[in-house]
């Protein structure tokens, strides 16, 4: 027994030898791993950028303003809506640098109402300049073929004719942001460059049905500020819309319900998807604007989960009547 124990006892020399062999083995494995390690990853260029945060563009003194104008002429409707709120000068001052966030998501003609109406873009840009704005920028990130989207929707021509500058997104325009109270927008790229030197933001969207979220209006329109593989957010569409509303605090929103896309949104395609709802909504409360817009689609706030969620997050009120909206008929 003692003899067997002695045979299995490792002496100092054996131990050091084994330790050396083990060290060489570990060292070789580490060297091999280091040699094989690809810091960039497969086809990935990881550019570390600083997190950015969009400033608050809202005007606290004008909180909870809303105007609802009935009429089929967009130009007249937007003018009257703004007049009831004290005119565009209430929101845009001399020297302001304004960004119009339009919906140019698809390369479709204006008659399909899948995008912001070019006439409306031209009129709002014109009014901003009239109020003394020093610059007006029009932008969106349609992902697929942005140049065609701005051209075929008529937005590019309308904007430039009014003296506004269209910023078609480029990769360098994007910077990561994080919505602190959010769970989805974490270190996510957003269209940042067009916001440089901007001090007023106006969101402009048409009223549309949406296959995934039920409706695409003002809050959903901020989706066009996201870069990256944003389609993954469609799996949790109500949360992402709520977080987008947290991310952007606009000066003013314009929800164009002159022609609403009632079915087959957000792309539509047929004129039979559309209905003349002849309503222009202007508000400083994006939640209230969407809540009213839902009624044009024959829906309620309960049908569009992101509206009560945005309200719960303190982003506005779904009870638009509580804002005592000014109602005008110009038809």
């Amino acid at each position: 027994m003692n003899q067997r124990a002695q045979q299995h006892t490792t002496n100092r020399r054996d131990f050091l030898l084994r330790l050396l062999k083990g060290g060489i083995f570990i060292g070789a494995a580490c060297s091999l791993s280091y040699w094989l390690y690809d810091a960039a990853g497969p086809g990935v260029v990881r550019e570390v950028k600083d997190l950015v945060t969009l400033p608050d563009f809202s005007l606290p003194s004008l909180k909870g303003k809303m105007s609802i104008v009935t009429g089929g002429d967009r130009t007249e409707a937007i003018r009257r809506a703004l007049d009831t709120m004290g005119g565009i000068e209430t929101f845009i001052k001399k020297g302001d640098r304004v960004l119009l966030k339009v919906n140019a998501a698809f390369a479709t003609p204006p008659i399909l109402s899948a995008t912001t109406n070019p006439q409306l873009v031209a009129e709002v840009a014109h009014l901003c300049y009239k109020a003394g704005a020093s610059s007006v920028v029009v932008t969106d990130n349609p992902i697929n073929d942005p140049a065609s989207c701005f051209a075929l929707t008529g937005i590019e021509e309308a904007a430039t004719s009014a003296g506004a500058k269209v910023l078609v997104p480029k990769e360098s325009f994007f910077q990561p942001t994080t919505v602190s109270a959010g769970v989805l927008i974490q270190n996510w790229p957003i269209l940042w460059e067009p916001f440089q030197k901007i001090n007023k933001v106006i969101g402009m969207a048409p009223v549309k049905d949406h296959h995934r979220s039920g409706a695409s209006m003002i809050m959903k329109n901020w989706y066009g500020l996201l870069g990256g593989r944003r389609n993954i957010f469609h799996q949790d569409i109500n949360t992402i819309i709520t977080e987008l509303a947290m991310m952007v605090k606009p000066t003013l929103v314009i929800l164009d319900g002159t022609t609403a896309m009632m079915t087959n949104g957000p792309t539509g395609g047929s004129l039979s998807d559309l209905k003349q709802t002849n309503t222009m909504i202007v508000s400083t409360d994006q939640v209230a604007a969407d809540a009213f817009g839902a009624t044009l689609l024959g829906k309620t706030v309960a049908d569009l989960l992101y509206i009560p969620r945005a309200e719960s997050a303190g982003l506005g009120t779904a009870d638009y009547e509580a804002l005592s909206p000014v109602r005008v008929n110009v038809s």
Binding site: I143, P169, E171, S270
Partner: protein, 333 residues
């Protein structure tokens, strides 16, 4: 007899284990911070040419289907499962759930009228069921039915049809008769030049024809009525007097699967506040659930799952369920 282990060996062993634990922790930490917007091949390529498809490196030029007076406004673009949403945004989910394979789209303009243009969308849905599903779920109620392809209709400015596994949309920028003629011609050319094996959809004939709105038959490819296990469900609208009813049926793999789905859907409805009522119908295994002031009737016959969905009137729902059961029996189910 165990050999003696020295303290040094124990220290070295523990050190190695600790190092391995630290490495594992680091990997887990890094993985938990995975950011798909950064760790991916670049997808934001606004100035890049047409996206690529998994099935074709060079998309087919759709000019081959265009009538002579049309000229290509853009090159053809191809989209696969991974980038369909780049083209049609939130509507991509509808196509993906129905088996979408590939989309080829291209714009054309009238030669002497460049502001009058159209865009053709050729969706390869992989099967006639897939193409019928997206066709039926987007069908415009105010439309003119056509004989083009397997199923077709036109509106003021667009043509929609199914040709085998292809679902085709041709949308014009203007509502003009000349443009509509060109669109129809484009569609005819596509059908004539494209071989598409059409498979029969047998479920159509299983619905009872009395009171049936024949144009209303739709195919829900997945998550029908909010229930995840309900895929490939056909629905049809019935008008009995002033009452509108929705019947549904689905061919399952086996009678056992159909029976199981009846049970699981009933449980699903109960979970969401439904109350199971005693069914007096002469249909074995039929379930009746009242939920949010509507009635759901579910049963199986052979390998067919069937029922009436969201009926406001119990008697009318039961009458339709009996008709449906009778129709299934007549068709040998």
């Amino acid at each position: 007899m165990a050999r003696t282990v020295s303290k040094t060996e124990i220290y070295v062993g523990c050190t190695i284990l600790i190092v391995l634990l630290v490495i594992s922790g680091g990997i887990l930490l890094k993985q938990s911070q995975y950011n798909p917007s950064i760790f991916k091949p670049t997808t934001f390529q606004p100035e890049s040419p047409a996206p690529t498809s998994p099935r074709a490196s060079s998309p087919p030029d759709l000019i081959q289907y265009a009538p002579k007076s049309l000229t290509a406004l853009t090159p053809p673009e191809t989209f696969g499962v991974e980038n369909l949403s780049d083209k049609i945004n939130g509507k991509a989910e509808l196509y993906l759930s129905a088996g979408f394979v590939r989309l080829v789209s291209q714009r054309f303009a009238i030669e002497d009228e460049p502001t009058a243009w159209m865009e053709a969308f050729i969706y390869d849905m992989g099967s006639t069921r897939g193409s019928y599903a997206v066709y039926s779920l987007q069908k415009r109620s105010e439309a003119t039915e056509l004989d083009t392809g397997d199923f077709a209709y036109r509106t003021e400015n667009a043509l929609y049809f199914v040709h085998g596994s292809y679902y085709v949309e041709i949308v014009a920028s203007i509502a003009q008769e000349r443009m509509v003629e060109l669109i129809l011609s484009f569609g005819d050319n596509f059908i004539r030049k494209t071989t598409a094996g059409s498979e029969a959809i047998n479920e159509f004939i299983l619905f009872p024809t009395k009171h049936l709105n024949k144009k209303s038959i739709s195919l829900l490819p997945s998550d029908a009525f909010g229930f995840q296990q309900f895929d490939s469900i056909f629905t049809a609208q019935y008008e009995v007097g002033d009452t509108e009813l929705t019947a549904f049926l689905s061919q399952r793999k086996s009678p056992a699967e159909a029976v199981r789905l009846v049970e699981s859907y009933t449980s699903f409805l109960r979970e969401f506040g439904g109350t199971e009522l005693k069914s007096t119908l002469n249909i074995p295994g039929a379930k009746l659930v009242e939920i949010m002031d509507t009635f759901e009737l579910i049963f199986s016959r052979g390998s067919v799952l069937a029922g009436v969905h969201g009926a406001e009137n119990r008697k009318a729902a039961e009458a339709l369920a009996l008709m449906l059961n009778h129709s299934l029996a007549e068709k040998g189910q």
